[in-house]
């Protein structure tokens, strides 16, 4: 177990800079998830920490010790690969024991004991004599995790470990990894492009974009207070609606915005640093939109499509001049049919506002993590 500190980490391949001066601190026992679209450098960053790629510039510290020049083993990392990378000619026992035999100089009995302990944690006891090709995807994944954790590394690294599994198995393995972290309390760094995995597993999410850190924060923080348009659009499924417009009336508490193709809207954001008429983008999540029938003064939008998902429905509204439709989450049963004309109502307290650089204008009534929990508990009592 250890804390990891990245200082000014840069990585170039040839003339191309992939990772740009990243500073990050991972605390002892923390579960950190790197998330971002493909090609954002998240896997490269993980491989830099693992020691599989050379750091071009900057320093990497583990427990205060500079480890730039150390091998993965000397750094004390264990890694789970996307393709599992099990040794196909060895059975499960040998796969897990391989690193133990090389490293410790421990006797056979000791190794057997360690492997057994690992196998018990991951419920691999009955599979120890099987070859990887005789295992299912989930079992292989567990063996890969077992191999990484058997040496009790200071840091466990996961490189998109679930992306080769099918959907239901992925949910199951996600839970198992979360349980494992609770039990081992070791520092874990996890790379994924799946923001659901990031949200569910992480103590701290690092959103990466084009080799930069966009934002670091708890899942709650990232969801409620995205600092940039990129994070706002990336976290959440379905995506947040991003509506371009101009600032009609700036304010320290509430701002009024004229949205292209939709009309005026209000949001609880502090836009006092901008002038009226500035280009802004309003972000609103599908669950924070309501629909109502148009009145005489309204400019209604046409319903393009309704997606029924069982527990909820998504209504797609055609915004004139916009490339993306406006998505509204509706409870089921949902009476809306395609072709209907409806008016979207934006929840003032839940809207986000971004300036034309994509930087956020602070929300004035954003909920705090503990506050929401308390409110719900009180509601349950009443």
């Amino acid at each position: 177990m250890a804390c990891v500190e990245l200082k000014n980490i840069t990585k170039t391949f040839g003339n191309e800079e992939i990772i740009h001066q990243i500073d990050l601190r991972v605390e002892d026992g923390e579960f950190v998830v790197f998330v971002g679209p493909s090609g954002c450098g998240k896997s490269t960053l993980l491989r830099l920490i693992a020691g599989l790629e050379e750091i071009t510039d900057g320093t990497l510290e583990i427990d205060g010790e500079i480890v730039n020049e150390l091998s993965p083993k000397e750094r004390g990392v264990g890694m789970v690969f996307q393709s599992y990378a099990l040794y196909p000619h060895m059975n499960v026992f040998e796969n897990i024991a391989f690193g133990l035999k090389l490293g410790s100089g421990a006797g056979k009995e000791k190794i057997r004991e360690w492997v057994q302990k690992t196998a018990d944690v991951l419920q691999l006891g009955e599979l120890l004599h099987r070859k990887p090709r005789e295992l299912s995807g989930g079992q292989r994944q567990r063996v890969a995790i077992g191999r990484a954790m058997a040496r009790e590394p200071r840091i466990m690294l996961f490189d998109e470990p679930l992306s080769n599994l099918d959907a239901s198995l992925r949910v199951q393995m996600r839970n198992e990894i979360a349980k494992l972290h609770n039990r081992l309390q070791s520092t874990m760094i996890y790379v994924t492009h799946d923001q659901v995995e990031a949200m569910t597993l992480a103590d701290k999410i690092v959103v990466l974009n084009k080799g930069h850190i966009e934002q670091v924060g708890s899942p709650f923080d990232l969801y409620e207070n995205p600092e940039s348009l990129f994070v706002a659009g990336f976290i959440g499924s379905p995506k947040m609606n991003l509506l371009p417009g101009t600032l009609a009336k700036p304010g320290a508490d509430t701002s009024e915005v004229a949205l292209d193709g939709i009309g005026p809207a209000r949001c609880a954001c502090d836009s006092s640093r901008l002038e009226a008429g500035a280009t802004v983008t309003l972000g609103i999540r599908p669950e924070h939109l309501q629909l109502r029938k148009p009145g005489p003064d309204d400019t209604p939008l046409e319903v393009m499509n309704v997606e029924y998902l069982g527990n909820e429905a998504y209504v797609y509204l055609d915004v004139p001049g916009a490339s993306q439709p406006l998505v509204v989450r509706q409870p089921v049963p949902c009476p809306v049919v395609p072709g209907q004309s409806l008016v979207p109502v934006i929840s003032v307290d839940s809207a986000h506002l971004f300036d034309d650089n994509g930087q956020v204008l602070r929300r004035t009534r954003a909920p705090a993590a503990n506050e929401v929990g308390d409110a719900q508990l009180e509601g349950a009592q009443g």
Partner: protein
């Protein structure tokens, strides 16, 4: 007539195709197997029977075999051949695998040119290097010694071995190597504990071909050895003589040929499973 023909055009075409295909197979089989079959046939004949043309084995006469195996020099040659071929394969595999690891997995300047040079070396005909090699072997004091053959065969086998193993080595997933690195394995351990077991099929194939080439080689074996007890089998067979200058002991020759071919066939049969089997299954996503 309104009755349908017995065979439609399409059916007829298919039958003709099948017959033609079968005919082709038989022709190829006959072409490739007949000489060997005739050698076996001849090896069971003796005396004047040799000169009657037969296509079936009428009687099993092991006289030729006993007379061949009764010669100490022939047994010596078999032993020499076994030694030379196995040592050639062993050394070529060891050097080939290590070279393939460097050429296939390590990025360094001049990797392409090195591979090309390796390939270029193998293009020279044996005769072209014969005199030069002879001098080298004299200088190394290996003349009339089976190790001179191990040395020269290894030179000629290595380019092929290196190329095949390099190609195969490149196909192994990169993550396996990285997993081994994370597990703390040195390159040597990675090579021999992780890669070599996975390269079984490739190594069986190249090793077998190297073995066959070394077993059957004639020119070097003739040039670099002098005495009967140092010769390998192909030279020994070629130098088997009859009672007089004008008599060729066909029966004995054929028996000797059969004896030295059988081990090769057995080897191929043993290793063919390994050649076919895909050992990498289950390594990565499957």
């Amino acid at each position: 007539m309104s009755a349908k023909p017995v065979l439609s055009r399409r059916q007829l075409k298919r039958y003709v195709g099948k017959v033609a295909f079968l005919f082709l197979i038989v022709a190829i089989l006959l072409f490739t197997v007949f000489p060997f079959y005739y050698a076996i046939l001849t090896s069971f004949k003796s005396g004047s029977e040799l000169f009657t043309v037969d296509y079936w084995i009428h009687s099993l006469n092991f006289g030729n075999y006993t007379s061949v195996l009764g010669q100490q020099s022939f047994l010596d040659s078999i032993w020499n051949s076994v030694l030379v071929s196995s040592m050639t394969v062993l050394i070529a595999m060891l050097l080939g695998v290590t070279a393939a690891y460097a050429l296939g997995r390590v990025r360094f300047r001049g990797r392409g040119p090195i591979l090309m040079i390796v390939l270029g070396v193998s293009m020279f005909p044996q005769v072209a290097v014969l005199s030069g090699l002879f001098e080298v072997i004299r200088a190394m004091n290996l003349y009339n010694n089976p190790w001179s053959l191990v040395f020269s065969y290894t030179i000629f086998t290595l380019p092929f071995t290196v190329w095949v193993l390099t190609t195969f080595m490149r196909q192994l997933p990169k993550e396996l190597e990285e997993a081994a690195i994370v597990d703390g394995a040195s390159p040597v351990v990675t090579l021999f504990k992780v890669f070599v077991p996975l390269m079984g099929p490739a190594m069986a194939t190249t090793g077998l071909l190297a073995f066959i080439a070394a077993w059957n080689e004639f020119l070097f074996a003739l040039t670099f050895t002098l005495t009967n007890d140092q010769r390998t089998v192909p030279v020994a067979i070629a130098l088997i003589t009859g009672g007089s200058q004008h008599e060729l002991p066909w029966g004995t020759l054929m028996a000797a040929s059969v004896i030295v071919t059988v081990p090769l066939i057995v080897l191929v049969l043993i290793f063919q499973r390994r050649i076919v089997s895909g050992l990498t299954a289950g390594a990565v996503k499957g």
